[in-house]
């Protein structure tokens, strides 16, 4: 980690309105230039964690401190304003006084060339999410919190988006936190992998990956993650309600 952290969070406990414990003792400190991939089975609490990190959910025990001046967000749903076209949806997010980015170029980068004048109802889910990603990128974020950025994308498009996202930390020292499912992509992209598991969910395992790690090093991290948390490779697809047995650490 270089420089002061962009994000410091300690979620001591997060309960559902019913009182059920959802998250327990999750600590996350993210510095500039870091890419944190948050992995775990569906329903484990990744989205809940991201909402807390974004400051949208304040009903938890613990603290979140964001030092970032501009935080970009990508939700699982596109959350575009249906009464504005894509260009105006993107403009909406730009703070006053900040220069207007080249929206056409931005849409081109996320694989939505010429989409400026389309309305959300004219977009497929995948296109709408890419427009939403362009909105998050348009504010030149120094902290980017993304919920499943690669969902509903074909492999080529996912690769393109991954390359675009990887540029952010290198070029501007931005920090990224992403919830995702795909371990291979996480290993290829992230500087840290955090596995959430259990009920209530907590950090089952985390591992750092050097930014310039070669393929062999990344492959060994991948094997390591799978050994410690089998579901990270997709072998345990879904968890609802039942406690997840995390494979014991092996020497």
């Amino acid at each position: 980690m270089r420089g002061a952290p962009m994000l410091e969070a300690h979620i001591a406990a997060k309960r559902a309105p019913s009182g059920e414990a959802l998250l327990r003792d999750i600590r996350l400190t993210v510095g500039p230039g870091e890419i944190v991939a948050l992995l775990g089975p569906s329903g484990v609490g990744k989205t809940t964690t991201l909402r807390i990190l974004l400051g949208l959910d304040r009903d938890f025990e613990g603290s979140v401190r964001r030092a970032a001046t501009r935080t970009g967000a990508l939700f699982q749903e596109p959350r575009l304003l249906p009464w504005r076209d894509v260009r105006d949806n993107i403009r909406l997010a730009i703070p006053r006084g900040q220069p207007m980015p080249d929206i056409a170029a931005l849409l081109d980068e996320v694989g939505l060339p010429g989409g400026e004048t389309l309305y959300p109802a004219q977009l497929s889910l995948g296109m709408a999410r890419r427009a939403a990603l362009a909105r998050a990128l348009a504010i030149a974020p120094d902290l980017l919190i993304l919920d499943e950025p690669f969902a509903s994308l074909d492999p080529a498009m996912a690769e393109r988006i991954a390359t675009r996202l990887a540029r952010l930390p290198r070029e501007r020292g931005a920090a990224l936190v992403m919830a995702m499912h795909d371990l291979d992509r996480a290993v290829a992209l992230a500087t840290r992998i955090v596995i959430l598991a259990g009920r209530p969910a907590s950090v089952a395992y985390q591992v750092e990956i050097a930014a310039h790690a070669d393929d062999a090093e990344r492959a060994s991290v991948r094997a390591d993650v799978i050994r410690r948390s089998p579901f990270a490779a997709g072998s345990i697809p879904d968890v609802h309600g039942d406690a997840v047995a995390v494979a014991p650490a092996q020497g």
Binding site: L92, R96, Y119, Q122
Partner: protein, 257 residues
């Protein structure tokens, strides 16, 4: 001619037939009623109205009423929207204000008008205030529904991107409330002017309501119909030239949906 234009033309055609049918029925009824003062013919009413317009009497009374309608409508929409929004957004405010709202909705209009005149005096402040108190609660009910239907996902998006409050209101909240605002505005305008007439009848010395009272005292049916129809016509024009274009503008984006 496109399909939409043709449909509009057909609509206009049937509208005209409807109006013509009404006037014809009126002629027939007036003919049946005979030459007495009970039901004058459309021609008699029209010529009376024309004389009143030339005298400047009808425009003067109409102006006084329209001014009250405009002020009362603006105030009741503003107050009703603010209160309705707050009640729709906050459970606490809703619990606090709901009993008062139910009371206001069920208070007879006459009681409000009479009390306003007694407490404030026979002046325009009392007149306008009475109309606002009578009208705003229905706006509150509609806007509260709209505020409850606001999309929480867009709220969160606005919060995540830290949109400044004014931009959030203009770009995120108002477009969602637009159809509720237009609905309460359209029903509101017709209710407001009817209330204004009653308020004028009870305690003002000008306005269409005052004129109607005068003609009632003299049993002058021609005057009553002339003033009543003239005013309804003006409100119809306001509705068509002001409120309907506003509604179309608010819903223009749906063409892309």
């Amino acid at each position: 001619m496109g399909r939409a234009e043709r449909r509009a033309a057909t609509g206009t055609f049937y509208r005209l037939i409807g109006i013509a049918g009404f006037v014809a029925l009126w002629f027939l009824a007036a003919h049946r009623a005979g030459p007495g003062p009970l039901l004058p013919s459309p021609l008699q009413v029209a010529s009376f109205a024309w004389r009143e317009i030339i005298d400047g009497d009808l425009p003067r009374q109409m102006g006084a009423t329209l001014a009250r309608v405009a002020i009362a409508f603006t105030l009741s929409m503003a107050a009703g929207t603010a209160i309705g929004y707050a009640m729709g957004r906050s459970r606490r405010i809703n619990a606090f204000a709901d009993p008062l709202l139910v009371l206001a909705l069920n208070l007879p209009l006459l009681v409000i008008v009479i009390l306003a005149y007694i407490w404030i005096g026979l002046n325009d402040l009392a007149a306008v205030l009475a109309v606002v108190v009578a009208k705003a609660p229905t706006v509150v009910v509609t806007i509260r529904e709209g505020a409850r239907a606001l999309d929480p996902e867009l709220d969160e998006m606005a919060a995540a991107f830290r949109l400044p409050p004014l931009r959030r209101l203009r770009a995120v909240i108002l477009p969602q409330l637009a159809s509720y605002l237009v609905a309460s505005g359209r029903s509101g305008l017709s209710i407001t002017w009817k209330i204004v007439l009653v308020v004028e009848l009870l305690g003002r010395s000008d306005g269409v309501g005052f004129a109607l009272n005068l003609y009632f005292q003299n049993f002058d049916v021609t005057g009553i119909i002339a003033y009543g129809l003239a005013f309804a016509l003006v409100m119809l024009v306001v509705e068509n030239l002001l409120l309907q274009p506003l509604e179309r503008r608010a819903n223009a984006w749906r063409a892309h949906a």
